[in-house]
Symmetry: C2
Subunit: 187 residues, 2 copies
Amino acid sequence: MSTNARETILAAARKTAQAHGYGGLSYRDLAAEVGIKAASIYHHFASKADLGAAVARRYWEDIAVELDAMLETTGDPMACLRLYPGTFRRSLEDGNRLCLCSFMSAEYANLPEAVQREAQVFADVNVAWLAKVLVMAGAVKPKESEARARAIFAAVSGAQLYARSRSDVSQFDALIEGYRASGLLPA
Amino acid sequence: MSTNARETILAAARKTAQAHGYGGLSYRDLAAEVGIKAASIYHHFASKADLGAAVARRYWEDIAVELDAMLETTGDPMACLRLYPGTFRRSLEDGNRLCLCSFMSAEYANLPEAVQREAQVFADVNVAWLAKVLVMAGAVKPKESEARARAIFAAVSGAQLYARSRSDVSQFDALIEGYRASGLLPA
DNA sequence: CTTTACCTGCCTAACGTTCGGTAGGTAGGG
DNA sequence: CCCTACCTACCGAACGTTAGGCAGGTAAAG
């Protein structure tokens, strides 16, 4: 465990938080999953707030890399817009989990400030990428790209939330298709 | 307190749950707010799951009445579609609270079955009403009304979630305007 | 080459607090 | 006399967190 215990904790905490939220993160359960004792987590993170912030930060760092890679490998902004909901779909497929940012937005009032901030950055990263890609694809006028990007992000988040409450990924697919049919997402 | 203590508990529990979720509902805090002792809540509700289910049920009963009343008083389905997001907006105005159903969708994995079910009914009620009104307004073909209704409900939920994470109601307004501009909501 | 010092990574054992829930009692009205 | 509505006084479990210790490694000092 030694060298990468911190990473193992981060990964396990992320998975748990996407299923049970920040409030559902328990040092005892988390430690058991990683294979150490609860108190040992304090060797890697000074507090639960610190751990939560680190998890959220790593979460948006990962998605930023993933989105940029998608744009680079396809080189096709329109294809990217089509693929974008897939990042949310994957969480549902993986144990009916939610986007960490959505969960933390719900838990917003109970969150330490540092965690709130990192969760917001996730949304910012998504919106900025969407806005850029929307302009590249010529789907909207540059002036409207930010607003449309936010609308897409919020709507996709809502679709994920709805599908989760039904434990049914196909509901997510149907909602995304509905967004395309109505014009929110390019068809 | 006597006769309507049950109602007082329900109302207080709803408010708390919209801010902190089902998990954030504490018998001690709730009792203090109502003006009785924690153990006395068991005189009105057999368990926390019972209380949660009762709160969620009352929640969708109230919204069902409110939506039907809106349609009856205006008599104008198009006006109703315009007013619909207002029900979500009001929660944000009232202490940056979330739709109970959204919060419970996030908490889904931690919820007693009875509570899960009542939370789903809230969504069903909204979708059914939206589908009906969409058809009345001639905004979509009857065959597509259910799918569009679900898309609207999910998108508006997502908008509320996003606005909450920024403690900024104007973000909600901007997102709804974005939905109108893109064609998801009738303009 | 060895001793001393300090480090990392983890442990055991407990802290005080809060949680949902239970047992049993009491005051008052029908 | 009993039912309603509430009470006091607990319970066991779980929570985040802390104190203190122990093995093993690294590195500078004698």
